[in-house]
């Protein structure tokens, strides 16, 4: 047993000295602020000592092993919680603080849980979801009243998401239980640090903002393709660049190769393995079995692996000695992310870190140049915190009602202290209460519905089944239904979206976990596979592709507008010139003050390619609006897809408009009516509703083994629930929230309005093109998340599709493998 004397700063200095560390000034700053009872946000790049800054601050106030629960450590990464707890325990032991650090996540066993119910350790490492669950137990309430601090790791990762909102709600509860509670957040660099700090501590408290060691100098380089003329205009894998990447790998002792998607990671792992058969290399992505991931992490730490191909699964949390070199395959997408990844190289704080960028398609050259300019200018993305999410609030109200200890008014007072719900209107609050107590608004109460009841002035959940089911569903993470991938004889490889497996037939090969496997059969939500050779497809995981941040999109616009006028053009832009001149020759280059619209006819129908260069979110709104307004003029089914540079509209026929006619369609008149209508017509709101329905307890993910018949009886898809609500309770505020989320988060209403206004005074240049241009090609080839708006009847639409099927069947012999994806299909 350690002596129970409180550690001092001198003890810390001794310990640091023994390990050849030095105490940074920002760490002392934290310790002093913490000792004074203050809250705050510490921001610094990964590996700069943030964790110890916060944790030692807490240990300096420790009084030994007899203390009650003092510190809650919240991590967004359940998989890393065990490592974190071990690291914290080690520091506590080294300093003789006598604290015990335990883990509480979804993986914690029942014995440990029962022990914690009786007696919490001095510090508990947990996730937002598990914390929320802990707050649902009445008998745990006394254990929280002695808390000194809540420390939130990777706060930037939570901010801007519903998990962040859930964290805010948990914090408001803890502050009510322990009024002098400190809140400390650890964050990577963000564009809105002050706001991040305010959200963290709540509206009526102040936060210290502590800057960690100044960011390392980062060098961003690009591997230029040898011949831009033959460089793909679209595509995601980038394998033509393999020889140069191999050369770069050979030149370094250890490398991390980051990709943007799991599919890219699988493919590159395979290709590098084939090119360097003798090398120990590793693969790391979120769908792999946890054991395989841990092996790879250990391999990086010990230096046993010469190269690791990874996705964003390695962006967070995992601490390891920096590698020699970081390679980024594919567009940077965000400045903060690129810098974070670059920070994995370079050995000492303050040293230069380098990232070698590998474009997979032509326009990514401009993105890398833009990332360099943005990083140089300190233009880091902001994460905008969410407000007034009624789904998360409804879940929280039920969670706290499970403790039978609060009145509705108390609860409202607590949440009013959060940034997320400060100033929530009376009507909205009343609706949330009605929703959990009566199902719908007071006027349209749902018969027989009951969940939360009010008795003796307190909120209760009386039904044990409802209570159990709610506890199982606490959280805001919505994932696609995943299916385990396993060899026939046992070994689990990881998991993959059920929708991917559904497209495979037994015998079909695919890449997974760095191997070529073939599907044998699917049984009980497990896809059994065997080793395979020959041609394979790569799982096209959902959600792997992310849009360019608006900060970066802005700089790309700037660069393209500057074109070759700048004397000091970057190597990337210089390399891009031949492509830009093709664009100029066949069509035109978008430039400020000019809206470029390309019109093309093909077997698919009439295409319009429009390039406002305003970022993906604005393009989503513009294309939905334009499609909707076109469909209002005449019966029409119009599909549209967007990227960061523009959007494509496609219909059987599109009207022959001149510039003024098009400008009229882009007017801001009736925008507040037409935009929501276009979002509803394109079912964007319905898609958003999926997450809302899950969080608000309207749909349940399957719980393996715990479902039984009753859960099956109340399972319905969120789409079906949405339709029923739209029909029988049109004033439901959760469907309204779906619309609002689509408008605000997906479409960026304000920027959309500004863009439309700007277009009214811009020159509109309509160019008829007879083939896809360099700018149009990626839009055509990457039709992801295609939306559509229709003013035709269902039977007309079916008739047209049947016509098209017929035509496609007739021209069948002409179809080649490259046009395979474009072909019409009726898929059962």
């Amino acid at each position: 047993m350690h002596t129970l004397a409180m550690p001092t700063i001198a003890d810390v200095e001794t310990w640091y000295a023994a390990r050849n560390w030095r105490v940074f000034e920002f760490q002392r700053q934290c310790w002093a602020a913490y000792a004074a009872g203050q809250s705050g946000l510490i921001h610094a790049p990964t590996g700069a000592g943030k964790t110890l800054a916060a944790w030692i601050a807490a240990l300096l106030q420790s009084r030994g092993a007899d203390e009650p629960l003092r510190v809650l450590w919240i991590t967004p990464m359940r998989a890393l919680a065990a490592d974190t707890a071990a690291g914290l325990q080690q520091a506590s032991d080294a300093l003789g603080a006598g604290w015990s650090v335990e883990l509480r996540t979804g993986d914690t066993g029942s014995a440990a849980r029962a022990r914690q119910r009786r007696q919490m350790p001095q510090a508990l490492v947990t996730t937002p979801e598990s914390l929320s669950l802990l707050l649902s137990y009445a008998d745990l309430i006394p254990q929280f009243t002695g808390l000194h601090a809540v420390i939130i790791d990777e706060w930037h990762e939570l901010l801007g998401s519903k998990r962040g909102v859930q964290t805010e709600l948990c914090l408001s509860r803890l502050r009510a239980l322990a009024p002098s509670l400190r809140t400390w957040g650890l964050s990577a660099t963000l564009g809105n640090l002050e706001q991040a700090a305010r959200v963290l501590v709540g509206v009526d408290r102040t936060a210290q903002i502590v800057a960690g060691v100044s960011p390392k100098h980062t060098v961003i380089e690009t591997l230029l393709p040898p011949a831009i003329q033959r460089f793909p205009w679209a595509g995601h894998l980038g394998l033509p660049q393999l020889p140069q990447v191999i050369e770069a790998l050979n030149a370094a002792c250890s490398s991390l190769v980051f990709t943007n998607t799991r599919a890219q990671a699988e493919r590159w792992f395979d290709a590098i393995g084939a090119a360097l058969p003798d090398w120990p290399i590793g693969l790391h992505h979120g769908s792999l079995d946890a054991g395989m991931r841990r092996d790879v992490e250990a391999g990086i730490k010990t230096g046993a692996l010469r190269a690791v191909v990874a996705t964003s699964s390695l962006d967070l949390g995992v601490d390891f000695t920096p590698v020699d070199q970081v390679i980024q395959i594919g567009g940077p997408k965000g400045v903060a992310r690129l810098l974070q990844r670059a920070g994995r190289s370079g050995h000492q704080p303050g040293q230069t870190s380098r990232i070698v960028c590998v474009p997979t398609m032509a326009l990514e050259l401009a993105e890398f140049a833009a990332a360099r300019r943005a990083a140089g200018a300190g233009l880091i993305e902001a994460r905008t915190p969410l407000r007034h999410c009624l789904d998360v609030l409804a879940q929280h109200v039920v969670t706290l009602a499970l403790t039978s200890s609060l009145s509705a008014d108390q609860l409202r007072a607590e949440i009013n202290g959060t940034h997320a719900y400060h100033g929530l209107g009376d009507a909205e609050w009343a609706w949330v209460l009605d929703f959990v107590m009566r199902g719908g608004s007071a006027l349209a109460a749902y018969p027989q519905y009951r969940k939360v009841v009010e008795r003796d002035g307190l909120l209760h959940v009386d039904d044990a089944t409802l209570a159990r089911r709610h506890r199982m569903a606490v959280g805001t993470i919505v994932s696609d239904s995943m299916m385990r991938v396993s060899y026939q004889r046992g070994a689990s490889l990881g998991s993959v979206e059920e929708s991917f497996v559904a497209r495979l037939k037994p015998g079909d090969g695919f890449f997974f976990a760095g191997r070529r496997v073939a599907l044998v059969r699917v049984r009980d939500m497990v896809a059994y596979v065997k080793p395979a050779t020959g041609s394979s497809v790569i799982p096209r995981w959902m959600g792997g592709r992310m849009p360019l941040s608006s900060e970066l999109a802005g700089v790309v616009r700037e660069l393209l507008a500057e074109g070759d006028h700048t004397d000091a053009a970057s190597p990337e832009l210089t390399a891009l010139q031949p492509l830009l001149s093709v664009q100029r020759r066949w069509s035109a280059l978008p430039e400020p003050g000019l809206l470029l619209v390309e019109r093309m006819r093909s077997r698919e129908g009439h295409h319009w390619f429009v390039y406002p260069m305003a970022g993906r979110h604005v393009h989503e709104g513009l294309s939905a609006l334009l499609a909707y307004r076109l469909a209002q003029r005449a019966p029409l089914t119009c599909s549209f897809s967007v990227n960061d540079y523009g959007f494509e509209l496609l219909a059987r026929t599109l009207p022959d408009l001149d510039a003024d006619g098009l400008r009229a369609l882009l007017s801001t008149d009736r925008l507040e009516h037409d935009l929501p209508a276009s979002i509803n017509a394109s079912e964007m709101a319905k898609r958003r509703f999926r997450e809302i329905a899950r969080i608000a307890g309207l749909v349940f993910d399957g719980y393996p083994g715990s479902g039984g018949k009753t859960v099956k009886q109340i399972q319905a898809s969120s789409g079906l629930i949405y339709d029923v609500l739209a029909r029988y309770d049109p004033d439901n505020r959760l469907t309204a929230q779906a619309l609002r989320e689509a408008l605000e988060q997906q479409l960026d209403y304000q920027r959309l309005r500004d863009s439309l206004q700007q277009m009214q005074s811009e020159q509109i240049r309509l160019i008829d093109v007879d083939r896809l241009t360099p700018l149009g090609f990626p839009l055509w080839a990457d039709r992801l998340n295609q939306h559509r708006v229709s003013s035709e009847g269902v039977s007309e639409r079916v008739a047209r599709m049947l016509e098209e099927l017929e035509a496609a069947a007739q021209s069948e012999p002409a179809a080649t493998s490259t046009t395979r994806r474009r072909r019409v299909s009726s898929r059962a």
Binding site: Y449, K451, L698, S790, G793, V798
Partner: protein, 226 residues
């Protein structure tokens, strides 16, 4: 009045039947309206379990059923299973709708092939439902809940539901998900009737006929993956 654009006459096992876009099948020779997977009371099962789903779909389903019986001049209603979503709890508010439906169709014979969701105890006797265990033989048809299940009567053409069949129709410019009648070599699967029911994509093969419900029209759809 029956709207001729809403129906399609087809022959199944040599027997002439009429498909209706309101998700029903009419068998003229037996003056029988056939539906499957009505799932009455599903919304209230959800509400009682604490899932806030509004009411209304059960009443609408009964109204649609009444219109179909009238338009086709049916004398018998045959339900191919899952008339109810779960075991009935006494005095549900929607019982009043069902009582009214029964009073308005006092002479109607209602046969129900018991489906996996149906629980017979607790069903009010006043509704006069004739429960039939599958397979029920009514040549040329064999009445089932799941027509694809193995059955003791091996001859005859099976009619069933259970699958809630839908077809995803996709073209370059458009995509739709349609409930379908899935007419196969030795059995047919009806679309689910209930307004608060989902669908499951089917895997049609050569020789199948797939009749899609496109709004208020019926349209033959291609039967194979391309």
């Amino acid at each position: 009045m029956l709207d001729p654009t809403q129906t399609l006459d087809v022959a199944l096992a040599g027997e002439s039947v009429r498909l209706d876009a309101r998700r029903a099948l009419y068998w003229p020779r037996r003056r029988t309206l056939i539906v499957a997977d009505v799932h009455l009371g599903k919304d209230s099962v959800f509400r009682r379990a604490g899932v806030a789903v509004p009411s209304g779909s059960t009443g609408d389903d009964l109204a649609r059923l009444a219109a179909l019986l009238l338009d086709h001049g049916a004398e018998r209603l045959l339900v191919l299973g899952d008339l109810f979503h779960a075991r009935l709890v006494a005095d549900e508010p929607w019982f009043a709708d069902m009582d009214r439906f029964r009073r308005q169709h006092a002479s109607l014979r209602i046969d129900v092939v018991r489906g996996n969701h149906d629980r017979i105890d607790g069903v009010p006797a006043a509704w006069q439902l004739n429960w039939r265990e599958e397979p029920a033989d009514e040549p040329p048809f064999v009445l089932m809940h799941d027509a694809t299940a193995p059955r003791s009567i091996t001859t005859g053409y099976a009619l069933g539901g259970h699958l809630h069949p839908v077809l995803n129709l996709t073209s370059t410019r458009d995509r739709l998900r349609l409930p379908v009648f899935w007419l196969r070599q030795d059995h047919a699967v009806l679309p689910s009737f209930g307004g608060f029911t989902g669908g499951h994509p089917i895997e049609a093969v050569d020789g199948d006929r797939v009749i899609g419900i496109a709004g208020d029209r019926l349209m033959a759809l291609p039967n194979r993956r391309r």
